[in-house]
């Protein structure tokens, strides 16, 4: 880089989002709100009628990951061997490589000792043809506790964030962020129910991260809205929100791309054990996170009455094309 910086214009940089976009996002609220409401109801119905595929962390039971020592695993043969043990409905599935099999045994009736006995029986039935890569046994007491802890944790996180936002912004913003937030969580849970992806402890981690991330996005837009509210006292709310969303659009998209790239690498190349974790996170971060902050979090402020009490004097001129283009 010996040339002066002024000449480095010859390097064409990628502009994912053109400058000065003027999408009328607020108009979409008449579409996006009903769609979101419908999807949320669908997600809740899914949760209640289709349910989540709870892992052993929350319902107890045994999970055994085995790797066949010679060639691809014969799942049918393994299934026969295990079903003969009378341990209830065992699930077997290929897990990543064709040599790897994940075995799930439901919680046994006879308490914690019966669970341990079940592991011993499975080991006996499968013998020495396989390597035991992972054995997880969770008892009834622990799983109930973890379910409670997870639920309380999610609620606590939402409340803490709400309080923080309330201190930093006006209460309408906090409420708006929470509506967006709950919307994200509900849709993600709907996604997990639809795909029947494993719901375990890492899913709680994924949900909390989605929560933090989606808020991160919302806060960036809200910050801009607040700044605009201070500057333009007379501009109609929909216009003001549109300018705010448009001016942060480039940032939102670039950041989503980088986060998605990171998650994609984890999903494609990462270990099988965190697949459901990354899949959930990708859904939450990529689909819901982006859509929510633009189409829900910002327009919801109109309904919450943000900006109605502004003073009637306009202090700065609106940014027009003349101001923006003079020096560029």
């Amino acid at each position: 880089m010996n040339r002066p910086a002024s000449e480095s214009k010859s390097v064409r940089l990628l502009r994912i989002v053109p400058d000065d976009t003027k999408f009328d996002f607020m108009r979409f609220r008449r579409v996006s709100f009903p769609i979101s409401a419908l999807l949320s109801i669908l997600a809740i119905l899914l949760y209640f009628y289709h349910g989540l595929n709870f892992g052993i962390d929350f319902i107890g039971g045994t999970l055994i990951e085995v790797q066949s020592k010679a060639g691809p695993a014969d799942i049918a043969k393994m299934r026969n061997a295990i079903e003969g043990l009378g341990l209830g409905e065992a699930q077997l599935q290929q897990f990543g490589a064709p040599t790897d099999v994940l075995i799930r045994i439901p919680q046994q009736a006879g308490g914690d000792e019966a669970q341990q006995a079940a592991v011993t029986k499975v080991r006996g039935a499968l013998g020495d043809d396989v390597d035991y890569r992972r054995v997880e046994v969770v008892g009834g007491r622990i799983s109930t506790e973890q379910m409670a802890k997870g639920t309380v944790g999610l609620m606590t996180a939402i409340m803490c964030i709400l309080v923080y936002l309330w201190f930093r912004f006006e209460w309408q913003f906090a409420l708006g962020a929470m509506i967006a937030n709950v919307h994200d969580l509900v849709l993600t849970i709907g996604f997990m129910s639809l795909t029947q992806i494993d719901f375990d402890l890492t899913s709680i981690a994924a949900l909390l991260t989605i929560l933090g991330y989606s808020l991160n996005d919302t806060v960036v837009i809200y910050d801009r809205i607040r700044e605009m509210l201070r500057r333009y006292k007379k501009m109609p709310m929909p216009d003001l929100l549109n300018i705010s969303v448009n001016s942060t659009l480039s940032r939102s998209i670039i950041t989503h791309v980088t986060v998605t790239l990171a998650l994609l690498a984890l999903f494609l190349f990462g270990p099988q054990a965190i697949h459901s974790f990354t899949a959930t996170m990708m859904f939450g971060v990529v689909l819901v996170g982006t859509y929510t902050s633009v189409f829900i979090a910002a327009p919801v402020l109109i309904y919450l009455g943000v900006g109605t009490s502004r003073m009637a004097t306009e202090e700065e001129p609106r940014p027009g094309p003349s101001a923006a283009r003079t020096r560029a």
Binding site: G111, A205, L208, D223, E227, G270
Partner: protein, 533 residues
């Protein structure tokens, strides 16, 4: 915003360098690290899901503790009243956590006085002394003694402490490296043993109470008769090992000598049959009791009972007076070895149950590390290229900041001796994706300020000033989520919370200092007339 004094710049660089340096011991082999001074040895600990190992959560059986406590109280009641020659009708009986005894009217006052001595004070908070037993005179000579809640809590604490000690002895003897054994809550014990090939053996050793008793076999009737009719009041039917067909034995309840009187136990081989056996030695009082019992009962069989199971019932051929002996059951070399470990370490004060087990084989752990490395490299590379394509020179600045950021995450993880788990690796990769956001926020703001007609330098300055407030706000929300996750999570998930949380701190630090420093020096050096982003 763009002016940074020299001393500040040095302070920033020094902090970043020091934190990054903390990560260095992780790249040296263990043998080298051990030669370093203690303060330089801190390194990232790999979680059990990455290095392989067993995580076992044990729960003390509260019913067992309560039963022992109440039965102990019943025996005390019987002894105290007998010693004071207080007349009672029938025997004291146990109902729930209460002992009931009927005292004759004439002796009632004296009996109550004696029984009150059983209620020992328990040191409570703020001097509010409570007693270990509640005594109620229910009328008609019926006295109810109830074990109080604080007494149970206190006993539970003792049981957990003793159990931890015994488990430590047991686990250390099977040759494990750096086991972690700690209390968890009021009635649980967490055992984490890294890099174990055979968790079954560990579980066998943890799950056994190892209460060893030497008792006489009752030959007054056959075990089958006892099973069909009623066994004599002082005897009970116990069974032999399951693999030998669960043979029933009629065994006296009285214990001649217990495992607590052993001083040593070693595996060995029987000289005649060359079968594996366990050789043991009693302490002085055990030897005396055993000698007396064998002298009185030559020709009769006695039973060696382990956790309620008869492991052998040999006939006493001659008095055993030298205070040592051997147990022969159908042992394998391994089981003889395990039993001696258990006997040496002592019996657990109460039954322990495994309520959670997570075992990862070393192969899977290694695979996870390999795949985690690939995913991290690919993810970081994609982000780095994307930033370069989008922001050019400023993208390079961002990449430098992110690299320093990741190095600082490892530095802080090492400094805290934190555990790196598989979800933790995911947290770092995610941090790379999120960390560039702070740069994106700043750069986009600069682009905007340029569009609004500011000169390059004022645009850069304004970009930083306005973006930093946003960066702080948006990161604090994610940090709250990470903090909550840290408090509710366990094991692997907690590892994720740690890396995510540390990642946020380093991200904010690098955005506020490193990126600013780099850009400020670049501006001072190039005096740009346009902003190349």
């Amino acid at each position: 915003m763009l002016y940074i004094s020299r001393s500040k710049a040095i302070a920033i660089l020094l902090t970043a360098t020091l934190v990054c340096l903390c990560a260095v011991p992780n790249f040296f082999p263990d043998s080298l690290v051990q030669k370093l001074p203690a303060w330089a040895q801190r390194h990232v600990v790999l979680g059990l899901d990455l290095q392989g190992g067993s995580h076992i959560l044990l729960q003390v059986d509260a019913n067992d503790v309560l039963r022992q406590k109440v039965e102990g109280l019943r025996d005390d009641v019987r002894r105290v009243l007998r010693d004071a020659r207080v007349g009672i009708t029938g025997q004291p009986v146990v109902r729930g956590n209460t002992v009931e005894v009927h005292i004759r009217d004439s002796d009632l006052q004296q009996g109550l006085t004696k029984l009150r001595e059983l209620a020992a004070p328990i040191g409570g908070v703020l001097g509010a002394t409570q007693r270990s037993v509640d005594i109620v005179n229910a009328g008609n000579g019926l006295v109810q003694l109830t074990v109080t809640e604080p007494a149970i809590v206190q006993r539970m604490r003792q049981v957990v402490d003793q159990s931890i000690e015994i488990i430590e002895r047991r686990v250390n003897q099977i040759g494990t490296v750096e086991p972690l054994i700690q209390r968890q809550g009021a009635d649980r014990i967490l055992v984490q043993v890294p890099g174990l090939q055979d968790p079954q053996r560990l579980k066998d050793i943890l799950g056994k109470t190892a209460r060893l008793e030497f008792r006489m076999v009752d030959s007054s009737m056959s075990p089958d008769q006892a099973l069909q009719g009623r066994p004599p009041p002082d005897s009970e039917v116990l069974y032999g090992p399951e693999k030998e067909g669960k043979m029933p034995y009629l065994i006296e309840k009285r214990v001649l000598v217990a495992g607590a009187d052993l001083t040593d136990a070693q595996p060995g081989f029987d000289q005649r049959t060359s079968e594996p056996i366990v050789q043991f030695r009693f302490n002085a009082s055990g030897a005396r009791k055993f000698a007396q019992a064998t002298q009185e009962n030559v020709g009769r069989p006695f039973a060696i009972v382990l956790d309620g199971e008869v492991i052998s019932a040999p006939v006493i051929r001659e008095p055993i007076t030298q205070g040592s002996g051997q147990i022969s059951g159908s042992f394998t070399v391994q089981s003889a070895n395990d039993l001696s470990v258990l006997l040496r370490a002592g019996a657990l004060p109460a039954k322990l149950t495994i309520i959670e087990e997570r075992t990862v084989g070393p192969g899977l752990g290694q695979d996870s590390i390999e795949k985690g490395k690939i995913a991290s490299l690919v993810g970081s590379l994609m982000v780095v290229i994307f930033m370069l394509v989008t922001y050019g020179l400023f993208g390079l600045f961002a990449n430098i900041a992110v690299t320093i950021n990741v190095a600082m995450i490892f530095g802080l993880l090492s400094l805290l001796g934190a555990t790196l788990t598989l979800p933790g690796i995911a947290g770092i990769v995610l941090t790379v994706g999120i960390a560039v956001d702070s740069n994106v926020l700043i750069y986009e703001r600069i682009r905007e300020e340029v569009r609004n007609g500011r000169t390059p330098i004022t645009a850069i300055d304004a970009g930083f000033t306005r973006a930093l407030a946003t960066i702080l706000d948006s990161n604090i929300t994610t940090f709250i989520a990470a903090a909550v996750l840290f408090f509710i999570g366990t094991g692997a998930v907690q590892g994720f919370a740690v890396t995510l949380g540390i990642g946020i701190i380093t991200t904010v630090f690098t955005a506020f200092t490193m990126t600013r420093l780099i850009v400020a020096y670049w501006v001072r050096w190039r005096r740009p007339t346009t902003v190349p982003i």
